[in-house]
Amino acid sequence: MSAALETVGLQKRFGGIVATDDVTFRLEPGARHALIGPNGAGKTTFVNLLTGVLQPSAGTIRLHGEDISAMAPERRVKRGLVRTFQINQLFAGMTPLETLGVAVSERMGHGYEFWRPAGSKSVVIDEIVEIATRFKLADVLEERTASLPYGKQRLLEIALAFACQPRVLLLDEPAAGVPEAERHDLLATVAALPRDVSVLLIEHDMDLVFSFAERISVLVNGALFTEGTVSEIANDPRVRAVYLGESLDG
């Protein structure tokens, strides 16, 4: 069975700097996989390569067996590869309703319908409301995104990815800046995704990583340092050393 997402010899150079160094990585179908690493390890560059924001200098990316290395970002999304951003990337002048509506319409292939008012299809509305309810956004659907409290914006950031119906979901530090109480709700929602959705979590918060992931990969200086099950990684003295004394269990 082909991997949900895999890279072979993936490399990205910025001038003399190697940001991603020969990464060969495999995300199994249905995986709950975490990618960790110290600051500047190249985690976000790796995600940008996977999603097509950056073009690799060398190497291959395959999504469900299909080579997507040179594919435009939006076409990767249509094939089910969806991400969230570490720093919220939202549409400030629009409401959550419109934001989710665009994503759902686009996915259903309505993006070029220019002669029909948005929201005239109940199947779209139903899905918007379903997602908004799941992410506790139903009470702010009509508010302007820019005026939402940070926590709600963070939820919208994640909800927007869900609206694209991912088959492979890349979460770039989803809990960054989310209050403790809401973190677990957020992760519970992610964990509740059906098993045919594969998830790669990029995260700093070790608590979160250990409670969510089944496998962990460690990225150091752009290269894959090691990979293993949660307990293997947690007990690996080299990983501890890489984190320079940063405690792995909290």
């Binding site: 939006e74 509506g101 220019f114 309810t133």
Partner: protein
């Protein structure tokens, strides 16, 4: 707001496409002016054409976030096309208008590839460059365009074979108004469609728009082509109703003026172009009667104040004041304004 989230969502989305009372008032006044302001048809004709031109810029600036300093390229192209078509082929206004619109759209499509890359400054320069190039071509091709002397000898037939253009601009105003209204109806429908919504995501955040599967470049090409066609239609209307075309239609100041009007009127709600064109033309008329040489001083001052205070804040203040006067609760900031 009451109701289940589904009801609220349905209502909210329906509201954005429903006509507001002020819109009916605006168009009633515009059509009423046919009978109420018979002695002002010439200036009204100029205003409505300018408004259509400004609306075409709003389609790319207010909805898709493309700043252009060369939008007169399409206005001028449409004007020359319609003028030359009338001289060399046939003087029927509607035929000329339709063809000039399509041709300008085609020109927009070709040049749209130049604005895909880069951000505001790069786009300003590229659009400016395209307009300068076209302006110089129009200047050089004297045999076709009349060059610096302008295109002479445009004679238009009657609209629909029935309505002759008269000296007082009555037919001109009615013709321009009806065409503008029809094009407005189309634009209004487009901007609230799923396609229109997707443009707004590109304006707000192209990176994320791509990340939710929106083919950003194709959408930009589509809307740029549309806006160019609209600008071309405005240019054609000017050429046909004034029966003259000069290099002025494609000059830099025309691109700058229309941008100015849009900033004065506000972007991203289609009426900004109308409001801006009216304010601009009326101010020009009033102030230049009072102090002919210095009217741009006042326009400049208004522009600086508008940009410094910020339209959204001003609109909000006005709304708060209005609500207080009527003893209603204060409104929240509006959700639909562009804010560029």
């Amino acid at each position: 707001m009451q109701g289940t989230p589904t009801e609220i969502a349905t209502r909210h989305l329906a509201e954005t496409s429903r006509w507001k009372p002020m819109e009916f008032v605006f168009w009633l006044v515009a059509f009423g002016a046919i009978w109420l302001l018979p002695s002002h048809h010439l200036i009204l004709n100029e205003i409505i054409i300018t408004a259509l031109f400004a609306m075409s810029l709003d389609l790319i600036l207010g909805y898709a976030g493309i700043a252009s300093l060369g939008h007169a390229a399409f206005f001028g192209f449409g004007a020359y096309f319609a003028g030359i078509f009338a001289i060399r082929v046939i003087g029927d206004p509607l035929t000329g208008l339709v063809l000039a619109t399509l041709a300008s759209g085609a020109l927009g499509f070709i040049t749209s590839f130049l604005v895909l890359r880069g951000v505001d400054l790069a786009r300003l320069m590229v659009t400016l460059g395209v307009a300068l190039v076209l302006g110089e071509i129009a200047n050089k091709m004297t045999w076709l365009t009349g060059g610096a002397d302008g295109l002479q000898g445009v004679v238009m037939g009657p609209v629909l074979g029935l309505f002759e253009f008269d000296l007082y601009g009555r037919t001109a105003y009615v013709y321009s108004l009806v065409i503008t209204f029809l094009l407005f109806l189309m634009a209004r429908r487009i901007v609230v469609s799923p396609f229109g919504l997707s443009l707004r995501t590109i304006r707000d955040n192209p990176l994320r728009a791509r990340a939710i599967g929106i083919p950003v470049n194709r959408r930009l090409i589509a809307v740029y082509t549309l806006a160019a066609a609209y600008a071309g239609a405005a240019g054609a209307l000017l050429a046909q109703t004034t029966q003259f075309v000069s290099l002025d239609v494609i000059a830099l100041h025309r691109s700058a003026d229309v941008l100015l009007m849009l900033v004065i009127g506000g972007t991203g709600y289609l009426y900004g172009g109308f409001a801006g064109a009216i304010v601009f033309k009326v101010l020009q008329d009033v102030i230049s009667n009072w102090t002919p040489q210095y009217w741009t001083f006042w326009i400049g001052l208004i522009l600086v104040i508008l940009v410094l205070i910020g339209r959204e804040r001003m609109n909000h203040r006005a709304a708060v004041l209005w609500a207080r006067l009527r003893g209603k609760p204060e409104p929240r900031p509006r959700t639909i304004v562009g804010g560029h």
